[in-house]
Structures are given as structure tokens and as C-alpha cells.
Subunit: 240 residues, 2 copies
């Protein structure tokens, strides 16, 4: 049985203010939930269809009907399993390593994809500006495919973070130097800008290096790459 | 005035069978529509809010109210402009150059992002398997940001296409050789597989080269990259 209050609580977690109030977030899908169950995230409650088996302390697992699952799910076609997990305490950013810093990323799919890339390319720290979309937004969590549990993510005032950091700061700007004509250090901060407006001028002026992914066909009208695919190209170039 | 039949027609274009019946597709947003207006696509009709100005033959432009725009739009928050364009006739794939071949891509956002990448990296031909999502699906068109007008896209039987082609065929497979330890030709076909299942075995056996994007942190549980970000990394590596 899923109570009315439980449904209300779970559905409220699509909103950031309620996630911050209850310090809980939602993940859906058997594969994703199983991965988060094995991670450092503390489980609040797992809801799963009666015909599914899940290897967990029984008090943490609630068997539900398809109808009940539909009531708590955020997906158009609910999967078999939904997990509610605790949002961990704020952690100070790690020092050193390869870091990605996001200046105002708004699209949950883009942030989720970037978190997945950070996991693949061994990024030590993902720094988000305070106005970047919340990483515990359910759409972000889904898009990370479990990488949310393996990447260090912190939300900070990025101006003061960049001012205090002694690491070389690379910013992706149209007028930058081609990424293919330079070599990159192991320890660096790569700054990626907002989908529509790029990197804010107040951040741009803190750059040590301006870099760009050159367009192959200069005659093309293509204006830019999507921020997640640009991050993929840059991480590959830093790591190759 | 937008007639009931017009609304019905435009809304039907979210479905492939009606796009194929009427040979029409929809694009939304002032910037995107303006870009397609300047392209080789033939305009059927542009709908735009009364306060907007559009530089076009007046018979092709219909001024609409916000209420009317909402009725024909596929977006949650409709933009100011919606365009209906003709789907051009089937074109035979170009020979030579760098080609991307998609084996069963299902997500419209992924296909749109890949089309945008093909534009940026000067891909001569994008080949899609017959079961890849339709490139005139409105979500694909939106995600291309206008690149749909600049990339050659063809849907074919990919088995016979690959069997007939004499170009070297690169397939991205887990067990492939690192992309960072080889050099690539200018003329090649890069095959990318379905989001969940990768490249079909019947296609895999047509590979000349098996390649992979190595994971930086081998201890990480990350299983794969998103197909669009993997395409970004590969295209950058072929073009660098």
C-alpha cells in the first residue's frame, strides 16, 4: 500500500524546493535504481512491482501494483522500480585533477549527459554555478545512467571559486585557439557556458586560455555545438 | 484565421504516417524557421504572431494570434513562429567523404544532435537504417538547430549499403582498438549503434575496423557513453 501522503511526498520531489526541504531525490528504472542501491547514497525507500525481485533489506522495499507505481512515477511509461534516496551533505570541491565548471547550464538532459561524460573521462570534480539546473532533478538523474553516484558535484559561487583557484582555466569561446593545436595539462579547469548565451563576461575575464573546437566546413552556417557534445570533444582531447 | 482543417493537418504531422502522406514537416521558433526559409526546403506556410516581422512573400505568411499558435504548436510554450515545409524527394547517398551510418537510433534528441554534429564536422553523408527515427520528426528537427537543411540524410537498407560500399568501415564496439592509437582516413564510414543494444551482429560482421573510446578511469562502473557524445568524440578524432 502506498499512502496518499507518500504519493504527495514523492511527486513533490520533482520540485527543487521540496527536494531541499526533505533532502530526498527520485530515480526510476530497475537498472538505475539497482546501481544507486549499491552506491554511497542512502536508501529511503524502494518501490517495485510485485513480480520483481530486489536484493535488499525487506524494510526498505515496498511491493506496489502497476496502478500505484503509475501514481508515483514521473515517467510517461513507468518502469518496474522507483527509488527514493537521501541527498548527501554538501562536500567541499576536491583540489587538483581535471575539473569541469558549468556556467548556468539549464537543460537537465545536458547536465545529465555531462555527468555521464565526467564519469567516463575521470573528471575529479564537477563544479556548477548556483544557477545551473539541480543535479538531483529527476530528469538529470535519469540522464546520468547511474553516473550521478560516481562524480563529485558541487554548487558554488563560481566567480570566487575561479578567483581562488590556482589551476589553469580553459574557456571555450568562439574566438579561442584550436584545441587541435595545443597540448593540455592533467590538472585544469575547463569552463563550459550556458546553452544560449555561452560563458558570462564576468567569468570570461578570468580565463587563462581561450580555446575553441574548430568547425571543419568553414562555409557551413552551423553556429555552435550542443554544450554536452562540446564537453565530450574537449574531455577526449584533454585525455587522449 | 487558422481553419480547423489546417490545425488538424499540422497536428497530424507529429506522426510519421501523415508526414509521409502529405510530404510535409513542421519546425518551430523564429530562428530555426528563418534558417529553413533561407534553405533549399520549399515553404508550404509560415505562421507567425502579429507583432513579428518576417521577410517573405506575403502569400506564404499567415499572421496568427497566440491562441491560434498554441493550437498548432507541439511545444509546451510555443515560440512566435511555426513553419510548415515540404519534405524533399529521396536522394541517392553521395559517394566518398566522411560518412556516419546509424544502426537503429531511436531517440529524436540523439538523432538531432548527431545531425548538428555532422554539419559542424563536415560529414558528407548521414546514412540511417530504415528503423532509425525519422529525421523530419518535429523533435529531431528542433534538436538540429537548422542543421537539418545542411546535412545529406538518407534512409536505406544498411546491410546492402555496407556490402556494396568499398569505403573502410569503422564500427564502435566495446572490444575495439583505442581511437587514440591510430590514424584515420578522410574517406570512411563510421557506424554507430542503437542506444540500448549497440550495433546489430549482422552489421558488426561487415566491419573492417573495430574501434572504441577508452574509459579513462578503468575502475569506474560507467558502461557506455551516450551515442551522440560518442559520435562527437569520434568525429573530432577523425577530423583533428
Amino acid at each position: 500500500m502506498v499512502s496518499k501522503n507518500e504519493i504527495k511526498l514523492i511527486k513533490s520531489l520533482t520540485q527543487k524546493k521540496y527536494r531541499n526541504k526533505y533532502l530526498l531525490f527520485v530515480a526510476e528504472g530497475e537498472k538505475l535504481v539497482n546501481e544507486l542501491v549499491k552506491s554511497h547514497f542512502k536508501i529511503k525507500q524502494i518501490y517495485t512491482l510485485e513480480n520483481r525481485d530486489i536484493d535488499l533489506d525487506k524494510t526498505l522495499v515496498k511491493l506496489v501494483t502497476e496502478k500505484e507505481l503509475k501514481k508515483i512515477s514521473n515517467l510517461v511509461t513507468p518502469n518496474s522500480t522507483l527509488g527514493v534516496f537521501e541527498i548527501p551533505a554538501f562536500k567541499k570541491p576536491l583540489k587538483g585533477g581535471l575539473q569541469i565548471l558549468l556556467d548556468g547550464i539549464k537543460d537537465p538532459g545536458n547536465l545529465g549527459t555531462i555527468i555521464r561524460l565526467c564519469d567516463w573521462f575521470g573528471v575529479s570534480q564537477l563544479i556548477c554555478s548556483d544557477d545551473t539546473v539541480d543535479c538531483f532533478n529527476p530528469k538529470v538523474v535519469q540522464a546520468t545512467m547511474g553516473s550521478i553516484a560516481r562524480v563529485n558535484i558541487t554548487y558554488v559561487d563560481i566567480v570566487s571559486y575561479l578567483e581562488k583557484s590556482e589551476m589553469p582555466k580553459y574557456m571555450t569561446l568562439m574566438q579561442g585557439d584550436s584545441i587541435y593545436r595545443q597540448s593540455f595539462p592533467n590538472d585544469a579547469i575547463i569552463v563550459m557556458g550556458n546553452e544560449a548565451n555561452g560563458i558570462r563576461p564576468s567569468i570570461q575575464k578570468l580565463a587563462d586560455y581561450q580555446i575553441t573546437i574548430p568547425k571543419f566546413d568553414l562555409g557551413s552556417n552551423a553556429e555552435s555545438l550542443n554544450v554536452a557534445t562540446a564537453t565530450a570533444v574537449l574531455l577526449s582531447e584533454f585525455r587522449r
